[in-house]
Symmetry: C2
Subunit: 381 residues, 2 copies
């Protein structure tokens, strides 16, 4: 396979395709608003007025409280000044990458969304992969690794770092003076990932950074917040890096997040999960017709990987053929940022789409795969 663009560039291509087509690339929620969510969106003009009237710190603390409670993070350091609201989790990640000493060796989960590795590398950090298998075996990297980055749950596999494993990592890091960095951008979607990460990390005496994200949960058209929280043990120049990137998140978006988080606690989570679960089952059934199966049947996040048998077309061919059918998915090589070949036999579909869209795309994928497979075994003319 020739070198691929990064995953976000492929997502941009899908979003801006002049021929339209079905976009199942990015993990953002592209769904109709629920009745409850529509009621909240209708109140945005009031939130605008309140943003002028109320002090920013009060609006921000309310959003942090509502969101972090909704995802089980009761020991997060609300009100201490150690939770920074950013435009996005990507920006929060970049701020962390900038604050780490240039040239440091950093272990990053593998595979994971390539953007995480790219942002760290671009800031001059020296990356080593932490395979999912090593995480599950609690085999933690020794110094000179300075920080360990875990995506929890992981994207694209859906792997949840079990609580005991995070504790083991945190204790290891505390012993060795390492920093534990948890990117919990998909956490809101998965109850199993909502044990109190902050309690685990603090109780182990670790130095830590956590990134939270509202951007994967709700169909809010990029009105979202990435949170960057950090340990009181941290000595990194995080505030300086933050102030190089932004003055503040929007107090309108913070109020929107607070209201949607309350709805998430009040049945919104279950409503959203029902759609995702239904769409995952739809995909599994549709691709089974082509002899394909889900790579991560236990995953609970809003994307699904398909595994392609070694004797058939690879993900690059499938991606290209699907584009001609007006369907955009992600080939998974770039997720394997340290060894792209490992990912060539996977494609990723987003499930946070209307059921009819997901069904259409999954059928197209099955047809495409069957078509490419038959062509591959046909005798050369």
């Amino acid at each position: 396979m020739t070198q691929l663009a990064n995953l976000t560039a492929m997502e941009v291509d899908a979003l801006t395709d002049p021929d339209g087509g079905l976009n199942l690339t990015d993990g953002h929620a592209r769904l109709p608003l629920s009745a409850q969510q529509a009621g909240i969106v209708a109140r945005i003009p009031e939130m605008f007025a309140a943003a002028s009237r109320r002090p920013f710190p009060e609006i921000e603390a309310e959003a942090h409280t509502a969101f972090l409670r909704a995802v089980g993070q009761h020991r997060a350091p609300i009100g201490t000044g150690r939770i920074l609201s950013c435009y996005s989790s990507t920006l929060a990640t970049d701020i962390v990458a900038r604050a780490l000493p240039r040239g440091s060796r950093i272990a990053v989960l593998h595979p994971t969304f390539d953007n995480i590795a790219d942002l760290f590398r671009t800031r001059g950090l020296d990356l080593v992969p932490l395979p999912e298998e090593a995480l599950l075996a609690a085999e933690w990297p020794a110094p000179p690794v300075r920080a360990v980055v875990v995506t929890h749950p992981n994207n694209p596999t859906g792997l949840v770092t079990p609580e005991g494993h995070l504790r083991s990592l945190a204790e290891h890091a505390a012993r060795h003076g390492q920093i534990v960095i948890v990117d919990a951008s998909f956490r809101g979607q998965v109850r199993d990932a909502q044990y109190d990460t902050y309690a685990v990390l603090d109780d182990a005496g670790a130095d830590w950074i956590c990134i939270e994200d509202t951007g994967k949960l709700w169909p809010t058209h990029e009105l979202k917040i990435g949170l960057l929280a950090y340990s009181e043990r941290s000595t990194l120049p995080i505030h300086r890096a933050f102030s190089e990137s932004l003055l503040s998140a929007s107090p309108v978006v913070l109020q929107l997040v607070a209201a949607l988080a309350r709805d998430w606690t009040d049945g919104g989570y279950e409503r959203a999960r029902a759609t995702i679960d239904r769409n995952r089952a739809t995909v599994a059934a549709a691709v089974a017709a082509a002899g394909l199966r889900l790579a991560d049947p236990a995953s609970q996040i809003s994307v699904a990987r398909m595994e392609l048998p070694v004797d058939g077309p690879d993900s690059g061919e499938l991606y290209e053929d699907l584009v001609t059918r007006g369907v955009h998915v992600l080939p998974c090589a770039p997720f394997h940022w340290a060894d792209p070949e490992d990912g060539e036999r996977f494609v990723r579909l987003s499930l946070a789409r209307p059921p009819a869209t997901v069904e259409h795309a999954a059928r197209a994928l099955a047809e495409s795969y069957t078509h490419l497979s038959s062509r591959a075994v046909a005798p050369v003319a």
Copy 2:
């Protein structure tokens, strides 16, 4: 003066001051909505619905067209794929800094908002100052300077780069293979700065990058867009850097920008200018009582600098005393990013605030200055 935090950090302190107080630090518009603007904000829920229904490229092109026309930029490359919508102009600047080859020598206007210099330096670029006097004398830096960054109008001085000077710079840059980078974040506020920059740059055969910003114009609580536009001559990996930073701006915010830009064309500009002009006159009158005067009386942007006589208190002392009086302003040393001492005798006040706020703050500044001056000359007990 001891080393100051960066300007944005001081703006964050003002925004998050637990005691409240008057915040005249940042250049963002913190004003009540006009009746016309309130009518637009009331339509945000409709914009939410339209963002699901309409293709993103259509929404984005409409916003680019409305905004760039409203600020006189008729030859901007709308529809070519060479205008990228970012969360903010800061993020657009960082994307440019990342796309430039590490280690390149870059000339940056001096003084200017320190964040511009900081973002370039943090990406490993080698900065040299381009004094405002050199710009006005059309003395352009020779290679090995690889790019010249001009803030137009400049912040904090309000200096507009005259059209002939930009043409001279563009022709110089074209001859020497340099890139002209124009940060036009404050352009929307000043008609004199709204000659068609894109026409000047393209007609001179220059390679160029322009950054535009909606964030300084309207009281939209950080719902804003930074535009990054670039020449068809550009060979920099700008798309790659963009896709490392974001997938897309919000189609809701893009629609908000389009509507506010139309209002800007339809009387909004004049309404906003009347407030700024009135506030500038208020400040000039209030500080005259303390023997102070505006440093840039011809400036038209939404901030005003006061010059402090050499024999009185400096900006650091004044800043500290004003904080105790519940008023936040910016001491100007950090704007002089290459030589902070040059800025010690200036403070900057934001004018995009309600008139009563500006008047109260300007009076407090005059009282504080008078108090500190009298203390300085009093005999030591």
